[in-house]
C-alpha cells in the first residue's frame, strides 16, 4: 500500500475508475487544463482526453443539469464543484432533477451522477470558501451523501459513488487535502456506502463525527486519555446512515457527543441526535450533546478558529456527560 495524501488518493481513484470504465467522465470548472484548483483531477485530461475530463463554462447549474442529460446518453458523469459555497447555484438542479429523475421515470432510467466538492473551513480563505453544506444535500430525497475522513476512504467512497447507480454527493475535507497522509490500497478500492467506521474503540464516551471533525475527535480522545476512554465513530456515509453502528456505540458507552462543523440549527448532527432519541433512549445515561459551528455566516478567517469546534469544546462536552 502506498502512503498518499487525501488529494492524491482522490486523484489515484480517478485514474483507476476512468481507466476501468469508459463511460465515466469528469466535468467541472478548471478540472481539465489545470487539473482542478486543488489538482484533484491532475493528469486525467492528458491521459483520457479533454472529453473525459472536461473544462466546462463557469455555470454550476449548467454542470449539474448537463450531467442529468449526459446520464440519459449513457455516461456516468462526475461533477466537480470548485468549492462548497459555489455549489449553491446547482442546488435547484439537484433537488428538482438529480434526486427525482429516476423516480420520475418509474425507475426505468438510472442517474449515476457523482458530485464532489472540497468543503469546510480552517484554511484562511476569503469568505464562501469555507462552508459545510452537507445538510442541504442530505435532506434532499433521492440523493446519497458520503464524507470521507481518511485518504483510504476518500478513494474508496469516491469509487463507490462513481460505481453507484444512484446519485451520490461527496464532500472532501479540504483542510486535510494535503496535510493528511495514510495508507491507500492500490488499484481498485471500494468502500461500501452506508457503513460507518469505528475510528477508535473506547468504553466511556462516544464521539460521533464525519469528515474533518473525525480527526478532531481523535485528538479529543488523546486529550482525555487520562480521564476516560473515548470511542470515535466516523459516520462516513450520511445517507444512508449506518444506524446499527450508531446505536451500537451509544449502547456501549451510554454517553454521546455529536460533532459537526456546519451551523448548528437543522444541521446533520440533529439527525444523528434524533435517531438516538428515538431508538437509544434506554441506553443513554445523559443528554446527547452537540458541539457544532454556530448559526452565523462562517467568519472572516482571523477569527475562524473561534467558530470551529475545538478540542476544548468537545472535551468539555464529554466531561459534562461523565459528570452527569
Amino acid at each position: 500500500m502506498a502512503e498518499l495524501t487525501l488529494l492524491e488518493a482522490i486523484n489515484d481513484c480517478f485514474h483507476v475508475e476512468l481507466g476501468r470504465d469508459p463511460d465515466v467522465m469528469i466535468l467541472g470548472e478548471d478540472v481539465g487544463r489545470a487539473g482542478g484548483v486543488f489538482r484533484a483531477t491532475a493528469g486525467l485530461r492528458d491521459r483520457f482526453g479533454p472529453d473525459r475530463c472536461f473544462d466546462t463554462p463557469l455555470a454550476e447549474a449548467g454542470i449539474m443539469g448537463a450531467a442529468v442529460g449526459l446520464c440519459m446518453a449513457g455516461w456516468r458523469p462526475v461533477c466537480e464543484m470548485q468549492y462548497d459555497a459555489f455549489s449553491y447555484p446547482s442546488l435547484d438542479q439537484l433537488i428538482t432533477h438529480v434526486g427525482r429523475y429516476r423516480w420520475r421515470t418509474g425507475g426505468k432510467m438510472r442517474f449515476p451522477i457523482t458530485v464532489r466538492m472540497p468543503y469546510g473551513g480552517g484554511v484562511r480563505a476569503p469568505e464562501l470558501h469555507d462552508d459545510s453544506p452537507e445538510a442541504y444535500y442530505v435532506h434532499t430525497p433521492g440523493v446519497k451523501v458520503a464524507i470521507p475522513s481518511t485518504p483510504a476512504d476518500a478513494k474508496g467512497l469516491l469509487a463507490a459513488a462513481i460505481r453507484s447507480d444512484d446519485p451520490v454527493v461527496l464532500f472532501e475535507p479540504k483542510l486535510h487535502y494535503r496535510t493528511m497522509r495514510g495508507e491507500v490500497p492500490e488499484g481498485e478500492h471500494v468502500v461500501e456506502l452506508g457503513k460507518a467506521r469505528l475510528a477508535r474503540e473506547g468504553t466511556d464516551v462516544s464521539l460521533i463525527a464525519y469528515g474533518s471533525m473525525v480527526l478532531l475527535c481523535e485528538q479529543v480522545a488523546d486529550e482525555l486519555a487520562g480521564e476516560c476512554s473515548c470511542e470515535v465513530l466516523d459516520v462516513r456515509t450520511l445517507k444512508p446512515l449506518d444506524e446499527d453502528a450508531l446505536l451500537a456505540t451509544a449502547a456501549k458507552t451510554g454517553r454521546v457527543v455529536v460533532v459537526q462543523e456546519a451551523p448548528r440549527t437543522a444541521g446533520y448532527g440533529a439527525e444523528l441526535v434524533a435517531v438516538l432519541a428515538e431508538k437509544a433512549m434506554l441506553d443513554l445515561r445523559g443528554p446527547v450533546l452537540r458541539v457544532t459551528g454556530y448559526d452565523v455566516p462562517y467568519p472572516y478567517w482571523q477569527i475562524e478558529d473561534a467558530y470551529m469546534p475545538s478540542v476544548q469544546r468537545v472535551a468539555n462536552a464529554a466531561r459534562k456527560l461523565l459528570e452527569y
Partner: protein
C-alpha cells in the same frame, strides 16, 4: 462547421391568408407529408380539447392547455427522426402522442397516477418538465453526450417566452453552444407567462436576438404556421446533425386560452386580441391552406383522434389504483434501509 448565421428578426411564413399573403410551399414535402402533418395537428387539438372537458368532469387534475400551440409542436416534431430526443415542458405534455405513446399514459400523468410516468428511452421523449427552463441543460447534456459517443441523434428542447428569463435557459444554451451539441432550442413565444406579458419579460425586440449572444444561429418563425415551423426545424436539425451545433428557433404565437384550467385570464388579457387570435388559430389556418391547394382531408382523421381519446381516458380510468409501495419504489436503485419498515407501518402492520 456550419457558418454562424445572424439571428433573423423577420417571421418566416409559408401559409398565406388566402388574400394578400400568397401561399408558399416547403421543398420536398409530398401530399402524404401534408396529410401526416394534418393528422398530428388534429390529434393534438383533440387531445387538448378533450382534456379541458375531462378536467371539468373531474376526470383529470389541473391541466396546462395548449390550444393554438399545436402547429409548433406538430411542425417541429415532423422534422425529427425517431432517434432524436424531445425535451418537453408542461406545455408540450402530449407531444409524445406524435411518437406513438398511448393517450392513456399522458392522461394518467395529469391524473397524478404513477402509470403516467414513462421511460424516456422508450420514445426518446424526456419527462415532462414542470419547473421552467430547467430541462434546457438536460437537453444540452443529452445532445452533447450523444455527440461524444459518435451517435447521430439530435435533441430538441421546448420552452416558453417566460423561460428565457431563467438562468437555467441561459446556462443550458451556453453549454450547448460551447460543446457544439446537436440541439434545437425551440422557444414557444406565446407572449404570456401566466399573466406576465412578453413586454414585462424582456426588453429585446425579439427573443431570437438572444441566439447571437450564444454565437449560434437564430430563426424566427410564425408559430401558427405548421409548415414554416417544420421548415425552420428541418434546417436546424440538419445543421445540428452535421456538426453545426445548436440553433435557437423562436416561434411566435399567442396564448388564446387560459394558462391552465385553474387560470382566469380575464383579469389581465385583452379579450379582443384573444378573439382575433382565436379566429386565426393554427389548425383552421392549415385546413384552409389544404383546401386552397385542393387537398381533401379524410373526415376519419378527426373521428380517429376522438376514438384515441375515448380509448385513452377509458384505459386510464380502468387502471387499478396505485399501490402505496410506489411511495418508496424508484427513489433509489439501492433503496434506503428505512423504507421497508416504513412501508410496513404504512400498511398498518
Amino acid at each position: 462547421m456550419a457558418q454562424v448565421l445572424p439571428a433573423e428578426r423577420d417571421l418566416r411564413r409559408v401559409i398565406g391568408d388566402g388574400d394578400a399573403v400568397p401561399d408558399g410551399e416547403v421543398d420536398g414535402l409530398t401530399e402524404q407529408d401534408l396529410l401526416e402533418l394534418y393528422r398530428s395537428l388534429v390529434l393534438l387539438r383533440t387531445y387538448d380539447e378533450r382534456s379541458v372537458v375531462y378536467h371539468r368532469q373531474g376526470r383529470i387534475g389541473t391541466y396546462a392547455i395548449f390550444w393554438n400551440h399545436e402547429a409548433m409542436q406538430a411542425g417541429s416534431v415532423y422534422a425529427l427522426e425517431d432517434e432524436d430526443w424531445i425535451f418537453p415542458s408542461y406545455r408540450e405534455s402530449a407531444i409524445a402522442l406524435l411518437r406513438g405513446m398511448p393517450a392513456s399514459v399522458i392522461l394518467q400523468w395529469w391524473r397524478g397516477h404513477p402509470s403516467g410516468w414513462w421511460n424516456p428511452a422508450d420514445y426518446n421523449v424526456a419527462a415532462i418538465c414542470v419547473p421552467i427552463a430547467t430541462h434546457v441543460p438536460h437537453a444540452a447534456g443529452l445532445a452533447w453526450g450523444k455527440k461524444l459517443r459518435g451517435e447521430s441523434a439530435v435533441a430538441i428542447a421546448y420552452f416558453g417566452d417566460g423561460a428565457t428569463s431563467e438562468g437555467a435557459f441561459h446556462e443550458g444554451a451556453n453549454f450547448a453552444a460551447v460543446t457544439g451539441a446537436p440541439l434545437v432550442l425551440f422557444c414557444n413565444n406565446n407572449q404570456w407567462a401566466i399573466s406576465t406579458p412578453i413586454t414585462a419579460q424582456t426588453r429585446a425586440k425579439a427573443l431570437v436576438d438572444k441566439a447571437v449572444g450564444y454565437g449560434i444561429p437564430g430563426i424566427r418563425v410564425d408559430g401558427g404556421d405548421v409548415l414554416a415551423v417544420y421548415e425552420a426545424t428541418r434546417e436546424a436539425v440538419a445543421r445540428a446533425r452535421t456538426g453545426g451545433g445548436p440553433t435557437m428557433i423562436e416561434a411566435v404565437t399567442y396564448r388564446a386560452a387560459p394558462h391552465a384550467t385553474a387560470d382566469d385570464p380575464s383579469a389581465y388579457i385583452d379579450l379582443a386580441r384573444v378573439e382575433e387570435e382565436t379566429r386565426n388559430e393554427c389548425v383552421g389556418r392549415y385546413e384552409r391552406y389544404l383546401e386552397r391547394l385542393g387537398i381533401a382531408v379524410d373526415p376519419q382523421i378527426k373521428v380517429k383522434a376522438q376514438e384515441t381519446m375515448r380509448r385513452g381516458i377509458a384505459e386510464a380510468e380502468a387502471e387499478p389504483p396505485a399501490d402505496m409501495s410506489l411511495v418508496f419504489d424508484h427513489a433509489h436503485v439501492e433503496p434506503l434501509p428505512s423504507f421497508e419498515s416504513e412501508l410496513r407501518e404504512l400498511r398498518g402492520g
